[in-house]
């Protein structure tokens, strides 16, 4: 078990470092922050001075080592825009993003899983077909289309909800809905197929033949088995709580991480972009780690030989 956890941690760390390296290189190859920050008409000396002061004149590998070293000392760099620490700038935006993504996650779980399980238990019924139709529609409509359609309906036509901005919980309704609908669809479909698979297993017939009441067959015998694949997907959703709203935050001008990322990328604000990507990678890796540990708790067969 200890070996399993250690191995997982090492892999998690390797993933995070890979993401950091990738972000570092791509950001520097895709544009010059000095040009973007200072504008096109500044004299060459000013550009040189800017590069020197931010260490951008050093060879790439020296910059990279310096960056890595700083990260391990807990120094995430300083924003080129307002010279405040990048980490503080990013963390300041986290609550706003979570205000959208956590309610959205609750909606996804609360509606998606029950809808999928119900559809599986009433396979080929009218309700089942309805659930599949809505689920496919839900996850195939891109969020920028869905967001605009919702704005059109509820803000422009009906005038009952604000089309953008933040401040009150009412402002959060449309963005939360926009984020959650795709996830509800994905989870409904996924839970449905997981549940159909499990309900066809011989041990379900055994439980029924034993005289277990139908709802206890579903609850006690089927759901614990269907939980393993569902947890995988939910883990992914939890991991993307921080990252999950770039497009939607932009549509609804919500002051979260997603908007900060868009602004920082277009300004080539290196430290801030790197800090956001690091945070997203870390969140993803941690939730994957938790899912791996949960597998063991849910399925004793995986406990014996932990997946590597």
């Amino acid at each position: 078990m200890l070996r399993f956890v250690a191995l997982r941690l090492a892999r998690a760390l390797a993933t995070v470092i890979a993401v950091m390296t990738f972000a570092f290189v791509v950001l520097r190859l895709s544009g010059d922050p000095a040009q973007v920050m200072l504008g096109p008409d500044v004299p060459q000396e000013a550009v040189e001075a800017f590069r020197r002061s931010w260490g951008l004149d050093a060879p790439l590998w020296q910059q990279y080592l310096a960056y890595l070293g700083a990260i391990f000392r807990g120094d995430f760099g300083v924003s080129m825009r307002d010279h405040s620490p990048a980490l503080a700038l990013v963390l300041e935006r986290v609550p706003a993003t979570l205000q959208l993504t956590i309610p959205a996650l609750i909606l996804k779980l609360g509606l998606g899983i029950p809808a999928g399980v119900y559809a599986a238990l009433h396979r080929d019924s009218l309700i089942d077909r309805g659930v599949i139709l809505l689920a496919v529609a839900g996850f195939t409509i891109p969020s920028f289309v869905l967001g605009l359609v919702l704005v059109l309906i509820f803000a422009v036509t009906l005038g009952v909800l604000p089309s953008g901005g933040s401040g009150t919980w009412v402002h959060g309704i449309l963005p939360t809905l926009t984020i959650s609908i795709g996830g509800i669809g994905v989870l409904a479909r996924f839970s449905r197929s997981a549940m159909i698979e499990v309900m066809g297993q011989p041990y379900i017939r055994t439980a029924a033949a034993k005289g277990v009441k139908w709802r206890n067959v579903v609850r006690g015998h089927a759901l614990p088995n269907a939980a393993v694949p569902i947890v995988t997907l939910v883990g992914f959703m939890v991991g993307s709580l921080i990252a999950g709203a770039v497009v939607v935050e932009t549509i609804f001008s919500w002051p979260g991480i997603g908007r900060l990322l868009i602004v920082s990328v277009s300004n080539r604000d290196l430290a801030v972009v790197q800090c956001i990507l690091l945070l997203i990678a870390a969140a993803m890796v941690v939730s994957n780690l938790v899912v791996d540990l949960l597998y063991g708790a849910l399925d004793p067969r995986l406990r014996a030989q932990p997946a590597t």
């Binding site: 297993q201 029924a208 033949a209 034993k210 277990v212 088995n225 067969r301 014996a304």
Partner: protein
Amino acid sequence: MDRLVEIRDLRVAFDGVPVLHGIDLDVAPGEALGLVGESGCGKSVTWLAALGLLPAKARVTGSVRLGAGELVGAPRETLETVRGKRIAMIFQDPSSALNPVIRVGKQICEALRLHRDLRGAAAKAEAIRLMEMVGIPDAPRRFDLYTHEFSGGQCQRLMIAMALAGRPDLLIADEPTTALDATIQAQILELLARLRRETGMATVFISHDLGAVAQVCERVCVMYAGRIVEAGPVERLFAHPRHPYTRGLFDAIPQMSGPRRRLVPIPGTVPDPRALPPGCAFAPRCTRAHDACSRTRPDLLAQPDGRTLACAYPVPEARHDSFSTERAMT
């Protein structure tokens, strides 16, 4: 004859395709009955239908009476009180027939709680007693293990323990030894025979293995394409099979004693239930078939020697040859 279960004209159709064409079958209390036939002949479907365990798309008609109660068309709540309590069922491939994420002890205790209202320590003690009864060594320690920590044969023992938990009047053993290797098969058969002696419960043994049936059963029904074609006491049927299909099943068994002899397979394959021949379903594969066989289907009729038989041109009764129960036992 005193009857525990009385099946009359039981028919099952899947999506409009009939797979069971009117089965009449009685099980007496304490009796051991064998159901024999190739895969898909309706042996298991008969009992899954009786207990209401077929998928919703299956249409079941006819009658299955258990005591005074009718099971066909009975509400789910009624069937739930019969399943495991009056009629228990065990299945083939025991490793996948037990729930992989629930401790085996808990699975047995669930049956004890449902049917005998035993809980907590009392349930655990009884579950361990049942595990020991079916031959699980070191039962108290293994109570908390999961199915993947047991071998296939032990899983079948656990299935049997679970089936015994409700003290059923009838145990349906659906190919209980098919997925197991030969030595384990013999042990499980012995266990089933011993448990029947000790508990007095009736057993229906579903198998395509004639030898296994001979070892466990007193009476046997041979099924073909959704019908019973021959039934009777095991010794009589095995000594002188009269239906050409029954005879064919014996000819296909390798002989352990005596000179080596080429096996005689039954030519052809089981007919597609969607396109059954109009007459006797076995006629296209039968070496004794006459023209009439492919037009009119013979009824299952009682014979003077106590068996029932559905064949217009059966193997002659007087024929005495090398068939013996001893051979079937091999």
